[in-house]
C-alpha cells in the first residue's frame, strides 16, 4: 500500500477522535466516503466499471474469452483476476514495485469471487469438458487512498453486472469436429446474475474501536484489519485478518457483526444504481474521466 507518514501527535489525535466516534473528515465509524460508480467506461471490453471512493479510484475491465474448462469441474467456466497497481497511484509502484500488492489483492479476489456460490459458473459453460467462457477480470488501480478491497469488490460487482457475453451455438461440421459460432447480432448476449456476488468490507482496528473505510492516515494508526466479504443476505463468505498486529477474539466477533451489518446495506443501493444506469440504455451520457 502506498505509505503515508503520520507523526505521533497526529496518531493520538486520530485515535482520540475515533474513540468518540468522530473521524478526521467528520464521518462516523461506520460511514463510507463519497462513492461514484459508473459502468461501461471502456468500450472494447465486454464489461467495465469505474469506482471512485473518496480519493481511491479503481477501473475494472472484463473480457470474455473461450477456453478449456478446468479438469475437475468440466461443466463450469471460471474467472481469472489480474490486479495492476499502476505507477499512477504512487511512484513506489513504478516498474515491479506494485507487483507484491497486486498479487496479494488478486489472490484474495480469487477466493472471494471465483466460486459457484458467488457467480453462476455453470452458465459460463459452452460444451462440457471442451469449451467454456473464461472471464478475465482486470483491475487497474489508479489512485490509492486506503480501502482498496472495498472499492475493487464494488467495481467488480458493477462490471460483472455490466458484462455482456455473446451468445454462441455449437454446430458440428463435416469432419465431426465442433464449430463454435458467435451470433451475428451484437446485441444478442447473455448477462450474468450478480445477486449473490459479495462485497468486501474492510474493518480497521484503531485503538479500541474499529472503523469502516479507513483512509491511509487511519490505516497508519491501526495495527490490524479484518476483511469480510458479505452477500446481500448478510451471509459472510470469506474472512481474513491482515496486518502485523493481533486481534483478540471479542474484537473479531464484534467486527464481524459490524461488517455483516455494513455489508448488507451496501448491496441494495448499489443494485438500484446499476439498474437505473441500465434502464437509461443508450441515452445515458457517458462521463468517464471527463466529468
Amino acid at each position: 500500500m502506498a505509505t503515508v507518514q503520520v507523526s505521533e501527535a497526529e496518531k493520538v489525535y486520530i485515535l482520540h477522535g475515533i474513540r468518540d466516534d468522530l473521524r478526521v473528515d467528520g464521518r462516523g465509524c461506520e460511514d463510507y466516503r463519497h462513492m461514484e460508480i459508473e459502468t461501461d467506461v471502456v468500450s472494447n471490453t465486454d464489461g467495465s466499471a469505474k469506482v471512485t471512493l473518496g480519493h481511491t479510484a479503481v477501473l475494472v475491465g472484463i473480457k470474455a474469452e473461450i477456453g478449456k474448462p478446468r479438469p475437475m469441474v468440466p461443466k463450469e467456466g471460471y474467472l481469472e483476476f489480474f490486479v495492476d497497481c499502476s505507477a499512477n497511484a504512487t511512484p513506489e509502484f513504478e516498474g515491479r514495485g506494485g507487483e507484491e500488492l497486486g498479487t496479494e489483492l488478486s489472490n484474495t479476489l480469487y477466493k472471494v469471487f471465483n466460486n459457484k456460490k458467488s457467480v453462476d459458473l455453470r452458465s459460463l459453460c459452452i460444451s462440457a469438458g471442451e469449451h467454456c467462457w473464461v472471464l478475465y477480470v482486470d483491475v487497474l488501480l489508479l489512485q490509492c487512498d486506503g480501502n482498496l478491497y472495498d472499492a475493487i469488490s464494488i467495481a467488480i460487482k458493477a462490471a460483472l453486472f455490466n458484462t455482456k457475453i455473446p451468445r454462441v451455438h455449437i454446430s458440428s461440421d463435416d469432419e465431426g469436429g465442433k464449430e463454435i459460432e458467435l451470433s451475428d447480432d451484437p446485441y444478442d448476449c447473455m448477462r450474468l446474475n450478480v445477486e449473490n456476488v459479495p462485497c468486501i468490507v474492510t474493518l480497521c482496528k484503531v485503538g479500541h474501536r474499529y472503523v469502516v473505510d479507513a483512509t491511509l492516515q487511519e490505516k497508519a494508526c491501526s495495527v490490524a484489519s479484518l476483511i469480510i466479504s458479505v452477500t446481500h443476505k448478510g451471509t459472510v463468505t470469506c474472512m481474513r485478518k491482515v496486518g502485523g498486529g493481533s486481534l483478540d477474539p471479542e474484537s473479531v466477533y464484534e467486527m464481524t457483526e459490524a461488517g455483516k451489518r455494513v455489508g448488507k446495506t451496501l448491496h441494495a443501493p448499489l443494485m438500484k444504481l446499476l439498474q437505473e444506469e441500465e434502464s437509461l440504455g443508450t441515452k445515458r451520457q457517458k462521463v468517464g474521466f471527463l466529468g
Binding site: V42, S86, N88, P91, G95, R96, L140, Q143, F289, L290
Partner: protein, 268 residues
Amino acid sequence: MGNVVQSEARGAVRFSSVEVCGNMAGLELLSDQGYRLDGRKATELRKVQARMGVFAQADGSAYLEQGNTKALAVVYGPHEMRGSRSRTRHDQAVINCQYSMATFSTAERKRRPHGDRKSTEMSLHLKQTFEAAVMTQLYPRSQIDIYVKILQSDGGNYSVCVNAATLAVIDAGIPMRDYVCACTVGFVDETPLADLCYAEESGGVSSLALALLPRGGQIALLQMDARLHQDHLETLIEAAMTACKGVSKVLDEVVRQHLQESSVLSGE
C-alpha cells in the same frame, strides 16, 4: 500483415499499392472521394477531448481522448531523486517516464501491462521528448516522474501519450518551453493521412510519428519505421507539422478552460 509495395517507373510516375490485412480485405484506406475508413478526410484529426486535474493526489494529471484512443497521464515532481542517487544530475532535473497499457486496452488481452520491449522503447521516447521541452535546468538534483497509461488503444498511442503528458506537466506547474504536440501520419496513394487509427496503422501504411514544439517549429522526436520514398518525406513531415499545430490549438483551449474553471472556483 499488410505490405506496402512501391515501384517507380522512369520519370515522375510513381504508384503504390497497399494490401490490407486478411480480415479487412477489400477495404480501402482512402476512397476515391477522399474519405478514410472512419469517414474522415485525409488531413482531418480525430475528436480530441481532454481534462486536466483528474486526480487530486498526484502533482499533475490529465486525461486525453483522441477518437477511441484514451490515455491517462500523471506527473509526480519535481522531487528528490528516488532509487539510485548516482543518476542525479548536478545541473538539471532527471525526467523518468513509464509507458504502460492496461491489459484490457487492446482488442486481444495483453498479459503484461509493461516491461516488454515496446513499452520500454516508448518510455525512452517519451523521456527524450520531454527532455527537449521541460526546463529541467530550473530543478537541479531532482527528478520528475511522468507516468502514462493507455486505457484504450486505437492507433496513435505515442501521440496521444505525448499530448496527455503535456497537459499533465502543465497541470503540475512544471515550466516548459512550449506545448509538446504529437501526431502520427501515414502515406497512402500519394496523400498524407493525419492521425492514423489502428486499422490504418496495421493496414501497412508507412507511418511517421512526430513530436513538435509548435511555436518555434522545433521537432522533439521523429520516428518512422517503414519504407517511404525520399521525395515524399518532406510532404509527410509538412503534413505532420500542420496536424501537430492543430492539436496544439486544442490543447491550448483545454488549458485556458481549466484555468478559467479553477479561478472561478477559488473566487478570483
